[in-house]
Symmetry: C2
Subunit: 425 residues, 2 copies
């Protein structure tokens, strides 16, 4: 496997390898596997290697990601690469500037390896990416190239975005770590909006250390180790009102993880969410479609026929939603966010299903976002860890969530859980 981000950063900084060697290893993996996985919307090996050589030629590291390759979901603007957003409408489109997150990564020394395949405008109409564990199965979506590319060792870390379940679901399906921070954590300037009150930039990586490193870079912190908890975390098991959707492999993943955590000596209790939370699925549909329609107003007016039928339905539905219904959905959601205070009063994190089960067969349907979008709606930080294998040998993740703003605590709990023997990480 090609090196992780923190591992590569250390090796480059200590002169044990070069950025060119790390990027070259990623490009070799891509050359070997891209025909099967199809993770990349744009990749120019010469451009990537030129960035790597410039890092290697620098008198001193420019930042904590000096020389480290990063993949960028193709709905982030990039000034030196096309930004096609999974849509023929933007074929060959070249933005004037980098998205904020991309510019910050560059300023930290990262090599922008290429643009990863996204579902059309980060929606539900998928691109051609296959699951690296079984090319007959979806990698999930919409951040499908990012998750598959990281899982396959093509790149150590990649940016994604999550409006429903677009970071955590593909991460879970592909057997990697996916992180959606508290809403608003990473600056969104220069991304294509799906539903702006929900859109959250997130990260895909193969380990928690890499997640923490890129999180620190994007928020401008001094990178450091994830804080060790001085005590076992207090974890609630939250099956949610969607538990009926859980396939046997998800039931096994959650119950197995809960057992292991309990055996490691922590307090584990069962948490039932207030009844109001059951309305969040409908509220999400209203918020997503209403906001999506407006974010797509230009393409809807000028290029409707080049939107997928699924996107056309979403936009048409969104414009048909009465403004008052949308406002009511926002208010109901905000109420649930406040109700969550009590849930986290004496718990550090919740253990919840990440996905219904294994990645489904076929590439036309990227899977059900229900278990991820519940928490996206609540604006809380969420992480998926690979924890289990399903009946077809495919990865099945678990999800950990914490309260708004408690991203540090969530990472600490995740590291604790990952360290429990048998939790699978």
């Amino acid at each position: 496997m090609t090196p992780g981000a923190a591992e590569a950063a250390r090796a480059i900084a200590e002169g044990r390898t070069t950025s060119e060697a790390v990027v070259g290893a990623c490009l070799a993996r891509i050359a070997e596997r891209e025909a099967t996985v199809r993770a990349w919307a744009f990749l120019d090996p010469d451009l990537a290697l030129a960035q790597a050589r410039a890092c290697d030629a620098a008198a001193k590291p420019v930042g904590p990601l000096h020389g480290v390759p990063v993949g960028i979901k193709d709905i982030f603007d990039t000034a030196d690469m096309p930004t096609e957003m999974g849509s023929p409408i933007y074929a060959g489109h070249r933005p004037a500037s980098d998205a904020a997150a991309v510019a910050i990564l560059r300023a930290s020394g990262a090599v922008i390896l290429g643009k990863t395949v996204t579902a059309e405008f980060a929606g539900t109409h998928p691109g051609a990416t296959a699951n690296p564990h079984d090319a007959a199965r979806t990698p999930g979506g919409s951040s499908q190239g990012s998750a598959a590319g990281v899982a396959d060792g093509m790149v150590p870390v990649a940016l994604g975005t999550q409006t429903g379940g677009s970071v955590l679901r593909p991460s879970s399906y592909c057997g990697i770590v996916g992180f959606k921070p508290t809403f608003g954590t990473f600056n969104r300037a220069g991304i294509k909006f799906a539903a702006e009150s929900l859109d959250t930039i997130g990260l895909h990586a193969r380990n928690l250390e890499d997640i923490a490193l890129v999180r620190d870079v994007l928020t401008g912190r001094e990178p450091g180790r994830i804080a060790r908890l001085g005590r076992p975390p207090r974890v609630g098991v939250c099956r949610t009102h969607l538990w009926h959707l859980a396939e046997p492999e998800t039931v096994a993943a959650i119950e197995g993880a809960a057992d292991v955590i309990r055996q490691a000596g922590t307090l584990v209790d069962e948490v039932e969410l207030p009844a109001a939370f059951a309305a969040l699925a409908d509220a999400r549909q209203a918020i997503n479609d209403y906001e999506r329609a407006r974010a797509m107003a230009h393409e809807w007016r000028t290029d409707r026929d080049r939107l997928s039928p699924a996107m056309q339905r979403t936009v048409a539905n969104g414009f048909a939603i009465p403004d008052a219904d949308y406002r009511a959905a926002l208010a109901a959601t905000e109420q649930c966010r406040r109700l969550l205070d009590a849930v986290f009063e004496d718990r550090d994190a919740l253990l919840a299903p990440a996905v219904n089960g294994e990645a489904p067969l076929g590439l036309d349907y990227a899977g059900d976002p229900a278990f991820q979008s519940l928490w996206t709606m609540l604006h809380v930080p969420a992480i998926t860890l690979p924890a289990h294998r399903g009946p077809n040998g495919m990865p099945v993740g678990i999800q950990l969530v914490s309260r708004q703003g408690a991203d540090d605590l969530l990472l600490s709990v995740a590291e604790w859980v990952g360290g429990c023997r048998g939790a699978g990480v």
Copy 2:
């Protein structure tokens, strides 16, 4: 004076005038006054007239703003006009698509008259626009071309954005109505972010009817009259902890308006905000600068020398703010938002200062945003109405605010207040 938006829409729909005539009248006013006012960053009379003639040639109106000219602050992307954002970095820049709000206006039949002057990236470094009431004075900022153009009769309505006080202050200085809806009301896809947790698209117009019409179009409602209150509104007078900043003309504006409203038979009481609100000014600085720095990460990395010294200071300061301080500022602000519930429990709206006083002399300083940014931080809807003249004959507005989501109520209260004899509207 050229017609208002609702007036023009009715006259065009009823065949009493044409879009070409309305747009022609606006262009004539601009030709007469632009050398003095300098409200426009881009104006192509032929392009505007071509849109107007296309409206006039249409078999039927395409929407409620059929043929009505609208001005667009030059930080909204436009596919057929440059989007320069008040910065030499983007001289001649042509985006690939329209911002969502622009596309929605077009879909409702509006003529996009041109792009109005903005302070550099909607910040504090102003453009060359003068106050139409006295060209030696600032029109305020950052939505300065929008406010001055509307006040001068160059265009009936215009889009602005407010992160601190960029819609209400120039509206107040220029003697027009400025409206900042509840945060998140108008879709922000395709605008340049300043501070994304605060940036709010707002409207400039010469009367409330036009504000309501464009608000309805942008939210997808069936346009209708502002609802009449069946009772006098309950209005609190909220001088705020910034009252020491109020010049005599602002004191007179607030006390005069309070007297008039009281005489009209409504309940008026004095409201003192909880002590925590005094910390919002510092919190705003932290949030604004932290988020601004990240939104400008690309320009900071590639074109730093072409940013104004003021912007360079803001960005440098923003990158120096510890992430933990920023998160603390966000949390303190959210706490104040929740405290506001009690303030509005038995009041419909608050009457508050809109500005320190008259527009200052000179064009280099666009005035103090303190009285507007307090409410922007709280995400509540706010409106300024022209109410008073200062010692130099310059307009001084009053501000009305209501609770989050109560935009309809706020418009109803504003209409009621505006109808009180002597309130000045």
